[in-house]
């Protein structure tokens, strides 16, 4: 990583540690962004397609591999 990139990374890391909390995205009361993604079988989904009659749990996880 070039020196400027390294400094930026350290600043970002220090900032997130100093402020304590990680960014967690849309707040309660906000509508989440739409998306168009493929699932494990190659089928396409958008936000509307994953919502049930009462809503949905939408989970973000790091990796299925490690």
């Amino acid at each position: 990583m070039n020196p400027v990139g390294k400094t930026t990374a350290w600043v970002a890391l220090a900032a997130s540690l100093a402020w304590g909390a990680v960014a967690t995205g849309p707040a309660v009361g906000e509508r989440v962004p739409d998306f168009h993604l493929r699932d494990q079988n190659g089928a396409e989904h958008d936000l509307h397609s994953i919502l049930g009659p009462k809503g949905a749990l939408l989970v973000f996880f790091r990796s299925a591999d490690w």
């Binding site: 990583m1 990139g5 990374a9 970002a12 890391l13 997130s16 304590g20 909390a21 990680v22 960014a23 967690t24 995205g25 849309p26 707040a27 309660v28 009361g29 906000e30 509508r31 989440v32 962004p33 739409d34 998306f35 993604l37 493929r38 699932d39 494990q40 079988n41 190659g42 989904h45 936000l47 509307h48 994953i50 919502l51 049930g52 009659p53 009462k54 809503g55 949905a56 749990l57 939408l58 989970v59 973000f60 996880f61 790091r62 990796s63 299925a64 591999d65 490690w66």
Partner: protein
Amino acid sequence: MEQNRARIAAQGLGLAAISYDSVAVLKTFADREHIGYTLLSDADSKVIRAYGIFNDTVPKDSFAYGIPNPGTYILDAHGVVVGKYFEDDYRVRDTAESILFRQFGIEPEPRSSVAAKHLKIAVEGGETPVRPDQRVTLAVDLQLPERMHVYAPGVTGGYIPISFKLSPSPAFQADPVTFPASKTLRLEVIHETVPVFMGRFRLLDTVTLAGPQQVQPLLDAQGNLPVEGDLRYQACDDHECYPPETVHLKWTLQVLAFDRTRAPESLRRKQ
């Protein structure tokens, strides 16, 4: 999450998970773990960025570059956030069961009844296996006969309020206990109003399991973690108050090791 899929669907809720893995990696994982719900591939992290949860502390040349800050949104039927569960520590995760319990009050079958004076007690929660660093919600379900009450926290005048405390253990960190809203009861004889619980109600305590190093030595021969605590209460009816009682309660959590199985080499993320 897969174990709770039926209960989630029964609530009329959809379920989907997003990661930066390729479709192929997600397919391998879904087949191996027999996952029936939707896993979505956000391989260029476009959606992760759009949600504002891109982990920018990971170096660009790392295979992990592109991951999100992990967590769960509870959405209503219009896609509006009604709850969210993100932890500061990236290793700690709420279990689906814990979220279902706390957000929707979904009750699993009462795990076991406990003999107690004046009221019925059942312990619930912790049925599905958990992993180190996960959070799990334990519940004490109480049922009082008619005309009986117990005192809620905050009561004054020498009454003993109901309390629950888990025995401290290096294997977990317990949140403060959650109590339901109390009712106000007027005791005519002494012209007092007091906060009470009546009928059926539930106390919840969410605990965060420690890492594998702390949990492992405390597992029993079956690989289970005993979690114990004391419930204290004073039951009264409209004539008299009975002596305070202390009841020892126990949960047995089945603890799984971390899942360290990798996708086949050819599918793995390089840089």
